[in-house]
């Protein structure tokens, strides 16, 4: 079954999201849809799945014009999608979520045995480690993403749209996903694949459509004709810039955060490492390795049950996150910026100044709004947040600009220890380069950074040293020589040495 979009346009208040865009998707192909944030990819996908109606233009399914009123209509025609946003019901089991619209029943009651069995069929294709009976809320972000993909697969769709399916999963799972996508393609499924990771697109796509500012700049071009440079310049409208990250001198004696044989109630065992001023310490691992959980434990969100945590040489008892930020000057840039990082309904100013209100208040406890703007403006300017005004609601900013805001608040309060969790998930090339440079700069200025990332390339660009975590333990440390080949091999080697996993290269 093939799908075509003809001259589709869509306008939102103040923005022309799509301007006469066309897409031609054939059965049995993997079609990459590329573009920077705000280029219109997600809008296009929402039109195909019936979430949004186009203002003009046509959607053709096998040459027949269709009008999907809702995702349900689209599903019934064999069109299924994994959206960028999570669409799972947290308190339901993995199996129920996967089979939500067609739960198997027996005598009129849901047959939970069958639910688990059926769901497992799809999970096993991607990650056999996920229990179909587990509740979704107990999963990590990456595992949730895998459940989303399994859910889309389970509808046996003829047309599958994947919007950033690999944004928060590791290379290992990506490899499994790709193997599966190739098999589906060979079975005649038409697949639209959206990703910010160019390597992935080159690895898997047959043809490519590129959007820029809501317009087509490439329409179904064969992948063979595409080079990285041409693709990037198509997407951003000019050649790519490589992140310039200044060399840092880290004084090994200036340790600011040290873990000695730490174990936590989340299940970490014997975690030992030291983080120094001006250093970027990477923490790499597969999904479920326990990286974000360690960050939360350090921040006082889980209990430390053994070993010692030292901050600036003193044993530290961090009671809660409030304590971590005020008493120990630690900041946390969350992996999930919408849920944990930002207050979407509030202005940029408020989101950044939230960490410094107490400092800004005068003798009688009032904050002068002008002083507040003055305090915030330099960081917004420095981080190059694109916005008409500081009063803009954060919910209206693009993902990249949102991420800048969630970093800015920690710069404003001058945190000395910054835990940055997956800083560039779902963020476009231009902004990604910028954020990498920014993180480098922050470290140069003396802050200690613990960087958690599943993006190997990002890790190798930024980190001075890389800790490798597996199964809630540290299994190795790699001195980063900034060479992708050697460093990534060393990292995978450590994971391989302890695990039963077989990391296939993504591609």
């Amino acid at each position: 079954m093939g799908l075509a979009l003809e001259a589709v346009s869509k306008t939102f208040p103040g923005v022309k999201a799509l301007d006469s865009v066309s897409l031609d998707l054939k059965a049995g192909e993997i079609h990459a849809l590329m573009g920077e944030n705000g280029a219109g990819k997600s809008t296009l996908i929402k039109i195909v799945t019936g979430l949004i109606r186009p203002d003009s233009g046509r959607v053709l399914l096998d040459g027949r014009a269709v009008q999907f009123g809702s995702p349900r209509d689209a599903l019934s025609e064999g069109v299924s999608a994994v959206h960028q946003e999570r669409n799972l019901i947290p308190r339901f089991s993995v199996g129920e979520n996967i089979l939500l619209e067609r739960l198997p029943t027996r005598n009129g009651l849901v047959d939970y045995g069958a639910v688990a069995r059926e769901a497992r069929r799809y999970l096993e294709l991607l990650d056999p480690g996920i229990d179909a009976r587990a509740k979704v809320l107990s999963l990590s972000v990456a595992q949730m993403q895998i459940v989303e993909i399994a859910k889309a697969l389970s509808s046996e769709a003829k047309i599958l749209l994947l919007d950033e399916p690999t944004a928060s999963i590791t290379e290992h799972e990506t490899a499994a996903l790709f193997k599966l996508l190739r098999k589906l393609r060979d079975d005649g499924v038409a697949i639209v694949f959206v990703s910010h990771k160019l390597e992935e697109v080159f690895a898997i796509a047959d043809r490519i459509t590129v959007l820029r500012d809501g317009k087509n700049v490439a329409r179904g071009a064969p992948m063979e004709d595409m080079t990285r440079q041409t693709l990037v310049s198509l997407m951003i409208g000019r050649p790519e810039r490589v992140a310039e990250i200044a060399e840092r001198q880290v004084d090994p004696s200036r340790v600011v955060l040290e873990a000695r044989g730490l174990s936590t109630t989340r299940g970490h065992k014997n975690i030992t490492f030291a983080l120094r001023y001006g250093e970027i310490l990477g923490l790499y691992g597969l999904v479920g390795a326990g990286r974000s959980e360690l960050a939360h434990a350090i921040l006082g969100d889980a209990r430390i049950s053994g070993g010692e945590l030292l901050i600036r040489g003193e044993p530290a008892r961090i009671r809660d996150v409030h304590d971590a930020s005020t008493r120990f000057r630690m900041g946390y840039v969350s992996e999930d910026r919408k849920q944990e990082g930002l207050i979407l309904m509030h202005s940029i100013t408020r989101n950044v100044a939230v960490t410094i209100w107490r400092r800004l208040a005068n003798v009688i406890g009032l904050i002068n709004p002008r002083a507040e703007s003055r305090a915030v403006a330099p960081f917004i300017k420095r981080l190059d947040v694109r916005t008409p005004s500081l009063g803009q609601l954060v919910g209206n900013l693009s993902g990249g600009n949102q991420q800048k805001v969630s970093i800015a608040k920690w710069l404003a309060v001058q945190s000395e220890i910054l835990i940055i969790d997956e800083p560039t998930v779902g963020i476009d090339i231009k902004t990604k380069t910028y954020l990498h440079e920014l993180i480098g700069e922050i470290a140069c200025e003396g802050a200690a950074i613990l960087l958690i990332s599943s993006d190997m390339a990002e890790m190798i660009t930024l980190a001075d040293r890389i800790l490798v975590m597996h199964g809630f333990r540290l299994v190795g440390e790699v001195a980063n020589d900034h060479q992708y080949e050697t460093t990534s091999r060393a990292i995978i080697g450590y994971i391989h040495a302890v695990g039963d996993v077989t990391p296939a290269p993504a591609g």
Partner: protein, 317 residues
């Protein structure tokens, strides 16, 4: 976007228009609407309602509810009455004591909510029952009638159409506006309401926010109770019994987000004014007072619809 649509996006614009039109219509239909006495009666009846609405608005700001506003108000009112009638407390002592009782009730609500992690709705539903129980246990449903003349006078006197009683909620409105727009703790309440996780990860203490919102709510409920006693001239155990609906209606009509993080002091004030106007209009037009209840319900639905429309159109939905 047309000027009209843009005006609709400003929260209290619709309310202001409705109030103007309503007042205009009433002055045409009912000749005695614009008399000094009628306006005084109407404004006087708003005074307590304003404080009640503010008491709920504060908890809505942090994304919670205080079902116990009325119960706490009733309890405060009769303790206030009892200290005066039975123990002869002067007002200068009895008023601060009443406010302290309200704050204490709020503290209990806040601590229970923050420490147990149980939804504030359930906690305050339970404490509401407890507060009411204490109230009727103490009084046996018998009001305290002997209130000091100065208090009753404060409840009665007026300057032109302006009742003295209204001064208290206006001062409170000003202070609340300042608190939520300019003071760090006020901002923190709204930040927490907007996204509790993000606020906590930004170093805002959850317990402090939740407790202070409930304490403030209790304090305002107590202030409303004192005004109610002044207005009625006696401390009735039934004070507060009919506050709940209004307490939600006014902030919501005024533009508060039920999910927390956004409130409007001015919007709430206008909403109370509009509701008062409707009530007054119905009295003047001799409509069955039970219909007021109906209109209130319809208005809440309309307001929620307008809020939703506004959220969709400003792109934050």
């Amino acid at each position: 976007m047309t000027l009209f649509r843009r005006l609709l996006l400003v929260e209290w614009s619709g309310l202001a228009v409705a109030i103007l039109l309503g007042a205009l219509a009433l002055s045409v239909i009912a000749p005695n609407f614009l008399t000094e006495f009628n306006l005084y009666v109407m404004l006087r009846s708003l005074s307590v309602g304003l404080l009640v609405a503010f008491a709920q608005m504060v908890t809505l700001g942090v994304g919670q509810m205080n079902i116990a506003v009325g119960a706490l108000g009733g309890l405060t009112a009769i303790i206030f009455g009892a200290t005066i009638e039975l123990y002869g407390f002067p007002l200068l002592l009895a008023i601060p004591l009443a406010l302290a009782i309200g704050a204490l009730g709020g503290l209990i609500n806040g601590l229970l909510t923050a420490r147990t992690g149980v939804n504030a709705f359930i906690i305050t539903l339970a404490t509401a029952s407890a507060f009411t129980g204490i109230n009727f246990g103490i009084t046996g449903s018998i009001p305290f009638y002997k209130m000091p003349a100065s208090l009753v006078a404060f409840g009665d006197h007026h300057l032109g159409a302006m009742p003295y009683l209204l001064v208290a909620p206006l001062i409170v409105a000003f202070l609340l506006g300042l608190f939520f727009s300019r003071a760090a703790p006020g901002r923190e309440l709204l930040a927490f309401g907007g996204n509790p996780q993000a606020a906590e990860l930004s170093g805002i203490s959850r317990e402090r926010v939740v407790v202070s919102a409930h304490v403030l709510s209790g304090l305002l409920a107590a202030a409303a109770a004192v005004l109610a006693v002044a207005q009625l001239g006696s401390a009735q155990p039934t004070i507060g019994a009919d506050w709940l609906l209004l307490s939600f209606a006014a902030p919501i009509i005024g533009g508060a987000a039920l999910t927390g993080g956004h409130i409007s002091v001015l919007g709430t004030l206008f909403a109370v004014l509009l509701l008062g106007l409707i009530q007054n209009g119905m009295v003047l037009a001799k409509v069955d007072p039970y219909w007021v209840q109906f209109v209130l319900g319809a208005l809440i639905l309309a307001a929620v619809g307008l809020n939703r429309w506004r959220a969709v159109n400003s792109g934050v939905a």
